[in-house]
Amino acid sequence: MNVTIFLLALFDGVSYAALVFIVALGLTLIFGVMRILNVAHGSLYAIGAYATVSLTGFALSMGAAPILAFPLMLISAVLVGLLIGGPIEVLLLRRIYNKPEVLQLLVTFAVFMILEDVQRLVWGTQPYFQSAVLQSLGNITVLGVTYTVYQLILLPLVAVALLLGLRFFLRHTLNGKLILATTEDREAAQSIGIDADRVFLLTFIVGAILAGLGGALASPTTSILPGMGADMIVLSFAVVATAGLGQIEGAALTALMIGLGRSFAIYFWPEIAVLVPYLIMVLVLLVRPEGLFGSPAARKI
């Protein structure tokens, strides 16, 4: 096998896996705590990307340095979390925690449909492309293969930092421990005075910020067009389901698996590249229905 192509596929896979992981992390966190699969997560990802492109484009036209785009990414992500994620939780999800799972799924799906059109109304249907940030960090050459620093080093670093940061946040900070306690047993947590509503809101906003951040970080590497949210929600669900819903560390591994599988397919068998993530998911779920790292749920009778 040609070393150059092998390395290219490897790098593509790693940088793609990093992006998918960031989005999947938010999805699995929300599910782990609230037991709701947020279908609108894909839209939050797309809106994060759109917001970043608009903000960066504006800043660049004002004569700002391209490096300023990094804080703007963070700002877009936080805005998505606070302005869209917050209201969704407070106005909608709070009403349906006691409803059947199917209704919860339908509600987030309805939000997804609404947000898909909101994107089209605000940003139109023409694709956006804004890669000033990508070039500002320059390139790096590894064994004769030149790759952007942004994709090869920054994205994986951010993904690992988020994974470690979230672990630290959940296990060693007060708010994180409140979240873990509520996840373990909501009623017991409430009976010792934990405000479960606040914990849920916090979780949802953090999850939404992660979706927005995924989109913001993806924006320099891809053209941004309608439909990207739908692709991303299905893909990140594949990652999360393969790992086992609610499994944070597992999601990192499966994201890598799926990212590498997809990028190697692009180089060696391009027709099936889109299918690879789902093939992996189906194969894993056939053998382990609860996912690679999930444990079978206790059944309620």
């Binding site: 799924l105 339908l106 449909m113 898909e116 789902y278 779920l285």
Partner: protein, 329 residues
């Protein structure tokens, strides 16, 4: 159409109410002569309605599928490929092959997804439909890519027909299929298998204690739902004369779920009523609200789920109930 919308539903064969349904079907049958401009629209609506009944069947077991456009599309593509292989094939053959194709796909996907419930069930169905969609888009030398394939007009029982009579026959075929398959589905719900199937919604564990396999029960319902979607897909493909990957696109599946919930989750009559109203509103409203159509659907879905969980059927039922009470006074 007003006649259909005033018809309330009860499962008990009470006189006035079931009469209203019969009147509704008769009025539909009169559409080609009374309002010819609506004919094709109603054909589309009934084709979609059949697929919506498929989604409705699964809702009775408490499951929602975000990917049932898959079977709709597979049936339509099976017809298109058949027409390409045997030019001038018969409509009856298309119906048979399309439905068999959908059933076969339903069996393959079904054997896998019946292991799951709730979130997994819904999302895995979505994943399968997305897979098929990307196959249709990517292998364009076989599937025609985003442009799709033409589906030339088939013969009807050996006769090659002009467009006018063919569409008329298709229209009445759609009505006959609606009545027959709707009746079959309602009877199936009442059958032992159908009863077991619906128990999955209330308490699956008890089923297992009774020695019944919930997976097998769910699979039988899944096959029925794939069949219904398949018949709808054949009708839609033949009526439109072309099939495109858009048939399988998740928006189609979402539309089906939307209509099922709008009509009244779990009601077969509601599915057709919902499909008719949806298709008419869409045709006239999309000129004004094309850009925000999905947004309106989403908002309406939220309103129904949060404030009127019974759907249209529930609303009409309570209106009719009120009318009956006032009559009694």
């Amino acid at each position: 159409m007003s006649s259909v919308s005033t018809a309330p539903k009860t499962d008990a064969p009470k006189h006035p109410k079931s009469m209203l349904w019969i009147v509704g079907v008769v009025l539909l049958a009169a559409v080609p002569f009374a309002v010819p401009s609506l004919q094709l629209l109603v054909t589309f609506a009934l084709a979609k309605g059949l697929a919506v009944v498929g989604v409705t069947v699964l809702l009775r077991a408490g499951q929602v599928s975000f990917g049932h456009a898959l079977f709709f599309g597979i049936a339509a593509y099976a017809c298109a490929f058949l027409m390409a292989a045997i030019p001038g094939a018969d409509l009856a053959l298309l119906l048979l092959v399309g439905t068999l194709g959908a059933l076969l796909a339903g069996l393959c996907v079904g054997l896998f997804v019946v292991r799951y419930r709730g979130i997994f069930f819904g999302m895995l169905n979505l994943a399968f439909s997305m897979i098929f969609w990307s196959i249709l888009e990517k292998f364009y030398h076989i599937t025609g890519g985003a442009d799709g394939i033409r589906l030339p007009r088939p013969t009807v029982l050996g006769m090659a027909l002009e467009r006018g009579p063919f569409e008329l026959i298709l229209y009445y075929l759609a009505i006959v299929l609606m009545v027959v398959l709707g009746w079959v589905t309602i009877r199936w719900f009442a059958s032992p298998v159908g009863q077991i199937f619906q128990t999955i919604k209330t308490n699956e564990t008890r089923l297992e204690y009774l020695g019944v396999s919930p997976r097998r029960a769910l699979l039988s319902g899944y096959l029925l739902s794939a069949l219904l979607c398949g018949v709808g897909g054949v009708l839609m493909g033949v009526a439109q004369g072309a099939v495109t990957p858009e048939y399988v696109w998740w928006v189609r599946s979402a539309e089906m779920v939307f209509i099922a919930v709008l009509g009244g989750a779990g009601s077969v009559r509601g599915a057709f009523l919902g499909a008719l109203i949806y298709e008419i509103v869409r045709t006239y409203a999309s000129a004004y609200a094309g850009d925000i159509w999905q947004m309106l659907l989403g908002a309406f879905l939220l309103i129904i789920i949060l404030f009127a969980p019974g759907g249209l059927i529930g609303i009409f039922g309570s209106l009719a109930g009120r009318a009956v009470k006032e009559d009694a006074k």
